[in-house]
Symmetry: C2
Subunit: 194 residues, 2 copies
DNA sequence: GTCTATATTGCGATAGAC
DNA sequence: GTCTATCGCAATATAGAC
Protein backbone atom coordinates (compact mmCIF):
# COMPACT_ATOMS: atom_id res chain seq x y z
CA UNK A 1 0.00 0.00 0.00
CA UNK A 2 2.25 2.70 1.34
CA UNK A 3 5.21 1.19 -0.44
CA UNK A 4 4.53 2.74 -3.85
CA UNK A 5 6.56 1.52 -6.73
CA UNK A 6 9.14 4.22 -7.50
CA UNK A 7 8.76 3.82 -11.22
CA UNK A 8 5.03 4.48 -11.00
CA UNK A 9 5.61 7.40 -8.64
CA UNK A 10 8.04 8.97 -11.09
CA UNK A 11 5.61 8.56 -13.97
CA UNK A 12 2.78 10.21 -12.04
CA UNK A 13 4.89 13.15 -10.92
CA UNK A 14 6.44 13.58 -14.36
CA UNK A 15 3.02 13.59 -16.00
CA UNK A 16 1.87 16.45 -13.84
CA UNK A 17 5.05 18.51 -13.99
CA UNK A 18 5.81 18.05 -17.70
CA UNK A 19 2.19 18.92 -18.46
CA UNK A 20 2.27 22.05 -16.32
CA UNK A 21 5.61 23.43 -17.44
CA UNK A 22 6.79 21.48 -20.46
CA UNK A 23 9.80 19.24 -21.03
CA UNK A 24 12.28 22.10 -20.66
CA UNK A 25 10.46 23.80 -17.81
CA UNK A 26 11.18 21.06 -15.28
CA UNK A 27 14.52 19.77 -14.03
CA UNK A 28 14.96 16.13 -13.07
CA UNK A 29 16.26 17.40 -9.75
CA UNK A 30 12.95 19.04 -8.93
CA UNK A 31 10.99 16.18 -10.41
CA UNK A 32 12.74 13.49 -8.38
CA UNK A 33 12.43 15.53 -5.19
CA UNK A 34 8.71 16.01 -5.80
CA UNK A 35 8.35 12.26 -6.33
CA UNK A 36 10.32 11.55 -3.16
CA UNK A 37 12.88 9.53 -5.08
CA UNK A 38 16.59 9.90 -5.78
CA UNK A 39 17.56 11.71 -8.95
CA UNK A 40 19.53 8.71 -10.19
CA UNK A 41 16.35 6.62 -10.38
CA UNK A 42 15.32 8.50 -13.52
CA UNK A 43 18.30 7.25 -15.46
CA UNK A 44 17.94 3.82 -13.87
CA UNK A 45 14.32 3.34 -14.91
CA UNK A 46 13.93 5.56 -17.97
CA UNK A 47 17.43 6.17 -19.33
CA UNK A 48 17.32 9.86 -18.62
CA UNK A 49 14.90 12.76 -18.69
CA UNK A 50 13.89 12.38 -22.32
CA UNK A 51 13.14 8.70 -21.86
CA UNK A 52 10.85 9.56 -18.97
CA UNK A 53 9.09 12.14 -21.12
CA UNK A 54 8.64 9.58 -23.91
CA UNK A 55 7.11 7.10 -21.46
CA UNK A 56 4.66 9.71 -20.22
CA UNK A 57 3.73 10.65 -23.77
CA UNK A 58 3.10 7.03 -24.77
CA UNK A 59 0.93 6.42 -21.73
CA UNK A 60 -1.09 9.60 -22.26
CA UNK A 61 -1.83 8.92 -25.92
CA UNK A 62 -2.72 5.26 -25.47
CA UNK A 63 -6.35 6.13 -24.68
CA UNK A 64 -6.93 7.07 -28.32
CA UNK A 65 -7.25 3.34 -29.03
CA UNK A 66 -10.90 3.78 -28.10
CA UNK A 67 -11.51 5.40 -31.50
CA UNK A 68 -11.41 1.89 -33.01
CA UNK A 69 -14.44 0.93 -30.97
CA UNK A 70 -16.37 3.93 -32.24
CA UNK A 71 -15.35 3.10 -35.78
CA UNK A 72 -16.64 -0.45 -35.55
CA UNK A 73 -19.98 0.37 -33.93
CA UNK A 74 -23.04 -0.71 -35.88
CA UNK A 75 -24.76 2.66 -35.61
CA UNK A 76 -25.65 5.51 -37.91
CA UNK A 77 -23.05 8.26 -38.67
CA UNK A 78 -24.79 10.94 -36.60
CA UNK A 79 -24.88 8.62 -33.61
CA UNK A 80 -21.19 7.87 -34.08
CA UNK A 81 -20.48 11.59 -34.05
CA UNK A 82 -22.37 12.00 -30.79
CA UNK A 83 -20.43 9.05 -29.42
CA UNK A 84 -17.18 10.73 -30.49
CA UNK A 85 -18.10 14.00 -28.80
CA UNK A 86 -19.14 12.17 -25.64
CA UNK A 87 -15.92 10.14 -25.56
CA UNK A 88 -13.78 13.16 -26.34
CA UNK A 89 -15.23 15.14 -23.43
CA UNK A 90 -14.88 12.17 -21.10
CA UNK A 91 -11.28 11.73 -22.26
CA UNK A 92 -10.51 15.30 -21.18
CA UNK A 93 -12.03 14.48 -17.79
CA UNK A 94 -10.14 11.22 -17.35
CA UNK A 95 -6.82 12.50 -18.69
CA UNK A 96 -6.69 16.13 -17.56
CA UNK A 97 -3.06 16.49 -18.63
CA UNK A 98 -3.40 15.00 -22.09
CA UNK A 99 -4.41 18.27 -23.78
CA UNK A 100 -1.22 19.95 -22.55
CA UNK A 101 0.95 17.32 -24.20
CA UNK A 102 -1.28 17.35 -27.26
CA UNK A 103 -1.03 21.08 -27.91
CA UNK A 104 2.55 21.33 -26.75
CA UNK A 105 3.61 18.66 -29.23
CA UNK A 106 1.58 20.23 -32.04
CA UNK A 107 3.12 23.66 -31.56
CA UNK A 108 6.56 22.79 -30.20
CA UNK A 109 7.16 19.21 -31.36
CA UNK A 110 9.83 17.17 -29.61
CA UNK A 111 11.66 14.30 -31.27
CA UNK A 112 8.79 12.04 -30.20
CA UNK A 113 6.12 13.83 -32.21
CA UNK A 114 6.63 11.73 -35.32
CA UNK A 115 6.67 8.37 -33.55
CA UNK A 116 4.00 8.86 -30.87
CA UNK A 117 1.80 11.91 -31.43
CA UNK A 118 1.43 12.22 -35.18
CA UNK A 119 0.29 8.63 -35.87
CA UNK A 120 -2.26 8.81 -33.06
CA UNK A 121 -3.86 12.05 -34.23
CA UNK A 122 -3.71 10.91 -37.84
CA UNK A 123 -5.59 7.71 -37.13
CA UNK A 124 -8.23 9.31 -34.91
CA UNK A 125 -8.96 12.05 -37.43
CA UNK A 126 -9.22 9.61 -40.32
CA UNK A 127 -11.81 7.59 -38.44
CA UNK A 128 -13.77 10.80 -37.88
CA UNK A 129 -13.40 11.77 -41.54
CA UNK A 130 -14.69 8.36 -42.63
CA UNK A 131 -17.73 8.77 -40.40
CA UNK A 132 -18.55 12.06 -42.13
CA UNK A 133 -18.01 10.47 -45.55
CA UNK A 134 -20.35 7.64 -44.62
CA UNK A 135 -22.98 10.20 -43.60
CA UNK A 136 -22.66 11.93 -46.96
CA UNK A 137 -22.89 8.65 -48.87
CA UNK A 138 -26.01 7.69 -46.99
CA UNK A 139 -27.48 11.12 -47.77
CA UNK A 140 -27.78 11.88 -44.07
CA UNK A 141 -25.49 14.90 -44.48
CA UNK A 142 -25.28 17.56 -47.16
CA UNK A 143 -23.17 16.44 -50.11
CA UNK A 144 -21.32 19.78 -50.30
CA UNK A 145 -19.75 19.00 -46.92
CA UNK A 146 -15.98 18.75 -46.94
CA UNK A 147 -15.32 15.67 -44.76
CA UNK A 148 -11.82 16.75 -43.67
CA UNK A 149 -12.77 20.29 -42.66
CA UNK A 150 -15.90 19.02 -40.93
CA UNK A 151 -13.96 16.48 -38.89
CA UNK A 152 -11.47 19.15 -37.84
CA UNK A 153 -14.33 21.47 -36.90
CA UNK A 154 -15.86 18.87 -34.61
CA UNK A 155 -12.58 17.99 -32.94
CA UNK A 156 -11.74 21.68 -32.64
CA UNK A 157 -14.97 22.65 -30.91
CA UNK A 158 -14.54 20.11 -28.14
CA UNK A 159 -10.80 20.54 -27.68
CA UNK A 160 -11.01 24.31 -27.57
CA UNK A 161 -13.66 24.21 -24.85
CA UNK A 162 -11.06 22.59 -22.62
CA UNK A 163 -8.07 24.46 -24.01
CA UNK A 164 -9.67 27.78 -23.16
CA UNK A 165 -10.52 26.81 -19.57
CA UNK A 166 -7.84 28.91 -17.91
CA UNK A 167 -8.98 32.05 -19.74
CA UNK A 168 -12.73 31.46 -19.49
CA UNK A 169 -13.38 29.78 -16.15
CA UNK A 170 -14.47 33.10 -14.63
CA UNK A 171 -17.50 33.36 -16.91
CA UNK A 172 -18.02 29.84 -18.23
CA UNK A 173 -18.77 26.95 -15.93
CA UNK A 174 -16.53 24.06 -16.97
CA UNK A 175 -17.73 21.57 -14.37
CA UNK A 176 -18.50 17.99 -15.47
CA UNK A 177 -22.15 18.39 -14.43
CA UNK A 178 -22.62 20.50 -17.51
CA UNK A 179 -21.08 17.92 -19.90
CA UNK A 180 -24.42 16.45 -20.90
CA UNK A 181 -25.77 19.88 -21.80
CA UNK A 182 -22.59 20.56 -23.76
CA UNK A 183 -22.96 17.40 -25.85
CA UNK A 184 -26.57 18.27 -26.66
CA UNK A 185 -25.52 21.79 -27.57
CA UNK A 186 -22.77 20.70 -29.93
CA UNK A 187 -25.07 18.15 -31.56
CA UNK A 188 -27.72 20.85 -31.99
CA UNK A 189 -25.25 23.15 -33.72
CA UNK A 190 -24.34 20.34 -36.10
CA UNK A 191 -27.89 19.29 -36.82
CA UNK A 192 -29.72 22.62 -36.76
CA UNK A 193 -27.02 25.31 -37.12
CA UNK A 194 -27.47 28.60 -35.31
CA UNK B 1 18.88 49.43 -44.71
CA UNK B 2 21.55 46.89 -43.87
CA UNK B 3 22.05 48.55 -40.51
CA UNK B 4 19.13 46.90 -38.76
CA UNK B 5 18.23 48.13 -35.36
CA UNK B 6 19.48 45.55 -32.85
CA UNK B 7 16.40 45.82 -30.69
CA UNK B 8 14.15 45.03 -33.65
CA UNK B 9 16.43 42.21 -34.74
CA UNK B 10 16.27 40.66 -31.28
CA UNK B 11 12.47 40.92 -31.19
CA UNK B 12 12.13 39.20 -34.57
CA UNK B 13 14.51 36.38 -33.69
CA UNK B 14 12.98 35.93 -30.25
CA UNK B 15 9.47 35.73 -31.72
CA UNK B 16 10.46 32.87 -33.98
CA UNK B 17 12.54 30.95 -31.47
CA UNK B 18 10.24 31.35 -28.45
CA UNK B 19 7.31 30.30 -30.64
CA UNK B 20 9.10 27.24 -31.97
CA UNK B 21 10.55 25.95 -28.71
CA UNK B 22 8.99 27.88 -25.84
CA UNK B 23 10.44 30.21 -23.24
CA UNK B 24 12.50 27.49 -21.57
CA UNK B 25 13.49 25.80 -24.82
CA UNK B 26 15.72 28.62 -26.01
CA UNK B 27 18.82 30.08 -24.35
CA UNK B 28 19.68 33.73 -24.70
CA UNK B 29 23.09 32.57 -25.90
CA UNK B 30 21.57 30.84 -28.91
CA UNK B 31 19.04 33.61 -29.42
CA UNK B 32 21.60 36.41 -29.48
CA UNK B 33 23.88 34.45 -31.78
CA UNK B 34 20.99 33.81 -34.17
CA UNK B 35 20.20 37.52 -34.13
CA UNK B 36 23.85 38.40 -34.76
CA UNK B 37 23.99 40.46 -31.57
CA UNK B 38 25.94 40.21 -28.34
CA UNK B 39 24.26 38.37 -25.49
CA UNK B 40 24.50 41.39 -23.22
CA UNK B 41 22.19 43.37 -25.51
CA UNK B 42 19.23 41.37 -24.21
CA UNK B 43 19.69 42.69 -20.69
CA UNK B 44 20.49 46.13 -22.04
CA UNK B 45 17.28 46.47 -24.09
CA UNK B 46 14.84 44.14 -22.33
CA UNK B 47 16.15 43.63 -18.80
CA UNK B 48 16.80 39.95 -19.32
CA UNK B 49 15.28 36.97 -21.05
CA UNK B 50 11.87 37.22 -19.41
CA UNK B 51 11.55 40.88 -20.33
CA UNK B 52 12.25 40.00 -23.94
CA UNK B 53 9.59 37.31 -23.79
CA UNK B 54 7.10 39.78 -22.32
CA UNK B 55 7.80 42.25 -25.13
CA UNK B 56 7.22 39.58 -27.74
CA UNK B 57 3.98 38.52 -26.06
CA UNK B 58 2.66 42.08 -25.94
CA UNK B 59 3.47 42.66 -29.60
CA UNK B 60 1.88 39.38 -30.69
CA UNK B 61 -1.37 39.96 -28.82
CA UNK B 62 -1.79 43.58 -29.86
CA UNK B 63 -3.58 42.57 -33.08
CA UNK B 64 -6.64 41.56 -31.08
CA UNK B 65 -7.55 45.22 -30.93
CA UNK B 66 -9.24 44.64 -34.26
CA UNK B 67 -12.11 42.94 -32.42
CA UNK B 68 -13.34 46.40 -31.41
CA UNK B 69 -13.87 47.27 -35.06
CA UNK B 70 -15.97 44.15 -35.59
CA UNK B 71 -17.96 44.95 -32.47
CA UNK B 72 -18.81 48.44 -33.68
CA UNK B 73 -19.78 47.52 -37.23
CA UNK B 74 -23.31 48.42 -38.24
CA UNK B 75 -24.14 45.00 -39.65
CA UNK B 76 -26.29 42.04 -38.71
CA UNK B 77 -25.01 39.40 -36.24
CA UNK B 78 -24.50 36.68 -38.84
CA UNK B 79 -22.44 39.06 -40.94
CA UNK B 80 -20.37 39.95 -37.91
CA UNK B 81 -19.71 36.28 -37.30
CA UNK B 82 -18.51 35.86 -40.86
CA UNK B 83 -16.34 38.93 -40.40
CA UNK B 84 -14.91 37.36 -37.23
CA UNK B 85 -14.09 34.09 -38.97
CA UNK B 86 -12.51 35.96 -41.88
CA UNK B 87 -10.42 38.12 -39.58
CA UNK B 88 -9.42 35.19 -37.39
CA UNK B 89 -8.13 33.20 -40.36
CA UNK B 90 -6.30 36.22 -41.73
CA UNK B 91 -4.80 36.81 -38.29
CA UNK B 92 -3.31 33.32 -38.35
CA UNK B 93 -1.83 34.12 -41.74
CA UNK B 94 -0.40 37.49 -40.70
CA UNK B 95 0.86 36.32 -37.30
CA UNK B 96 1.98 32.73 -37.89
CA UNK B 97 3.59 32.52 -34.46
CA UNK B 98 0.71 33.92 -32.44
CA UNK B 99 -1.08 30.57 -32.00
CA UNK B 100 2.03 29.05 -30.41
CA UNK B 101 2.12 31.74 -27.74
CA UNK B 102 -1.64 31.55 -27.37
CA UNK B 103 -1.78 27.80 -26.68
CA UNK B 104 1.46 27.75 -24.79
CA UNK B 105 0.19 30.40 -22.37
CA UNK B 106 -3.19 28.69 -22.00
CA UNK B 107 -1.65 25.34 -21.11
CA UNK B 108 1.62 26.39 -19.45
CA UNK B 109 0.99 29.97 -18.33
CA UNK B 110 3.96 32.14 -17.54
CA UNK B 111 3.82 35.05 -15.10
CA UNK B 112 2.60 37.22 -17.98
CA UNK B 113 -0.58 35.27 -18.60
CA UNK B 114 -2.65 37.34 -16.21
CA UNK B 115 -1.45 40.72 -17.42
CA UNK B 116 -1.20 40.19 -21.18
CA UNK B 117 -2.94 37.03 -22.41
CA UNK B 118 -5.97 36.63 -20.17
CA UNK B 119 -7.41 40.15 -20.65
CA UNK B 120 -7.00 39.91 -24.42
CA UNK B 121 -8.79 36.58 -24.77
CA UNK B 122 -11.43 37.65 -22.28
CA UNK B 123 -12.29 40.78 -24.22
CA UNK B 124 -12.32 39.11 -27.63
CA UNK B 125 -14.56 36.28 -26.45
CA UNK B 126 -16.99 38.65 -24.76
CA UNK B 127 -17.40 40.58 -27.99
CA UNK B 128 -18.14 37.31 -29.76
CA UNK B 129 -20.57 36.27 -27.04
CA UNK B 130 -22.40 39.60 -27.35
CA UNK B 131 -22.75 39.10 -31.09
CA UNK B 132 -24.42 35.73 -30.49
CA UNK B 133 -26.69 37.28 -27.85
CA UNK B 134 -27.67 40.01 -30.28
CA UNK B 135 -28.55 37.35 -32.85
CA UNK B 136 -30.75 35.56 -30.34
CA UNK B 137 -32.48 38.79 -29.29
CA UNK B 138 -33.19 39.65 -32.91
CA UNK B 139 -34.59 36.12 -33.42
CA UNK B 140 -32.00 35.45 -36.10
CA UNK B 141 -30.64 32.53 -34.06
CA UNK B 142 -32.38 29.82 -32.04
CA UNK B 143 -33.23 30.98 -28.54
CA UNK B 144 -32.00 27.70 -26.96
CA UNK B 145 -28.47 28.64 -28.06
CA UNK B 146 -26.00 29.07 -25.21
CA UNK B 147 -24.07 32.22 -26.24
CA UNK B 148 -20.89 31.32 -24.33
CA UNK B 149 -20.61 27.77 -25.64
CA UNK B 150 -21.45 28.93 -29.14
CA UNK B 151 -18.77 31.61 -29.12
CA UNK B 152 -16.20 29.07 -27.90
CA UNK B 153 -17.29 26.65 -30.60
CA UNK B 154 -16.73 29.23 -33.33
CA UNK B 155 -13.34 30.28 -32.01
CA UNK B 156 -12.38 26.64 -31.51
CA UNK B 157 -13.20 25.56 -35.05
CA UNK B 158 -10.95 28.16 -36.62
CA UNK B 159 -8.11 27.92 -34.13
CA UNK B 160 -8.00 24.14 -34.27
CA UNK B 161 -7.72 24.17 -38.05
CA UNK B 162 -4.41 25.97 -37.63
CA UNK B 163 -3.37 24.20 -34.44
CA UNK B 164 -3.64 20.83 -36.15
CA UNK B 165 -1.58 21.84 -39.17
CA UNK B 166 1.54 19.89 -38.24
CA UNK B 167 -0.46 16.66 -37.80
CA UNK B 168 -2.77 17.08 -40.78
CA UNK B 169 -0.79 18.79 -43.52
CA UNK B 170 -0.22 15.46 -45.29
CA UNK B 171 -3.92 15.03 -46.02
CA UNK B 172 -5.42 18.50 -45.60
CA UNK B 173 -4.34 21.39 -47.76
CA UNK B 174 -3.75 24.36 -45.45
CA UNK B 175 -2.72 26.85 -48.12
CA UNK B 176 -4.22 30.37 -48.06
CA UNK B 177 -5.86 29.81 -51.45
CA UNK B 178 -8.38 27.60 -49.72
CA UNK B 179 -9.24 30.21 -47.04
CA UNK B 180 -12.29 31.50 -48.90
CA UNK B 181 -13.69 28.01 -49.23
CA UNK B 182 -13.00 27.43 -45.51
CA UNK B 183 -14.95 30.52 -44.50
CA UNK B 184 -17.93 29.47 -46.63
CA UNK B 185 -17.74 25.98 -45.17
CA UNK B 186 -17.73 27.16 -41.58
CA UNK B 187 -20.59 29.56 -42.25
CA UNK B 188 -22.53 26.71 -43.89
CA UNK B 189 -22.08 24.50 -40.84
CA UNK B 190 -23.39 27.32 -38.65
CA UNK B 191 -26.34 28.20 -40.86
CA UNK B 192 -27.32 24.77 -42.19
CA UNK B 193 -25.69 22.21 -39.88
CA UNK B 194 -24.48 18.94 -41.35
C1' DG C 1 25.75 51.11 -27.66
C1' DT C 2 28.27 47.17 -28.11
C1' DC C 3 31.57 43.98 -26.98
C1' DT C 4 34.43 40.26 -24.27
C1' DA C 5 35.28 38.05 -20.17
C1' DT C 6 33.74 36.22 -16.09
C1' DA C 7 30.94 35.26 -11.82
C1' DT C 8 27.54 32.30 -10.17
C1' DT C 9 24.13 29.11 -10.34
C1' DG C 10 21.83 25.14 -11.89
C1' DC C 11 21.58 21.49 -15.28
C1' DG C 12 21.71 16.12 -16.65
C1' DA C 13 24.26 12.15 -15.96
C1' DT C 14 26.77 8.71 -13.44
C1' DA C 15 30.37 6.36 -10.34
C1' DG C 16 30.56 3.97 -6.41
C1' DA C 17 28.94 2.89 -1.58
C1' DC C 18 25.42 0.21 0.59
C1' DG D 1 17.35 -0.94 -6.08
C1' DT D 2 18.50 3.13 -3.98
C1' DC D 3 21.34 6.60 -2.34
C1' DT D 4 25.04 10.45 -2.00
C1' DA D 5 28.62 12.89 -4.01
C1' DT D 6 30.57 14.79 -7.83
C1' DC D 7 31.87 15.71 -12.77
C1' DG D 8 31.53 18.55 -16.71
C1' DC D 9 28.85 21.67 -18.99
C1' DA D 10 25.52 25.28 -20.08
C1' DA D 11 22.50 28.61 -18.18
C1' DT D 12 21.62 33.93 -17.04
C1' DA D 13 23.41 38.02 -15.77
C1' DT D 14 26.76 41.64 -15.47
C1' DA D 15 31.28 44.26 -14.86
C1' DG D 16 34.23 46.80 -17.28
C1' DA D 17 36.84 47.91 -21.69
C1' DC D 18 36.09 50.43 -25.88
Amino acid sequence: MDKKDFKTKLMATATRLFAERGLHGVSIRELSTAAGVSISMISYYFEGKEGLYASVLTEQFSCFEYMDLIKNKETEPLEKIEEYIRWSIQRHRDYPYLLRFYTSELTNPTRYFGSIVQPTIDKALHILIDIVKEGINKKHFREELNPEDTALAMAGMVNYYFLSTLATEKFINHSPERDGELIRHYMDIFTKGL
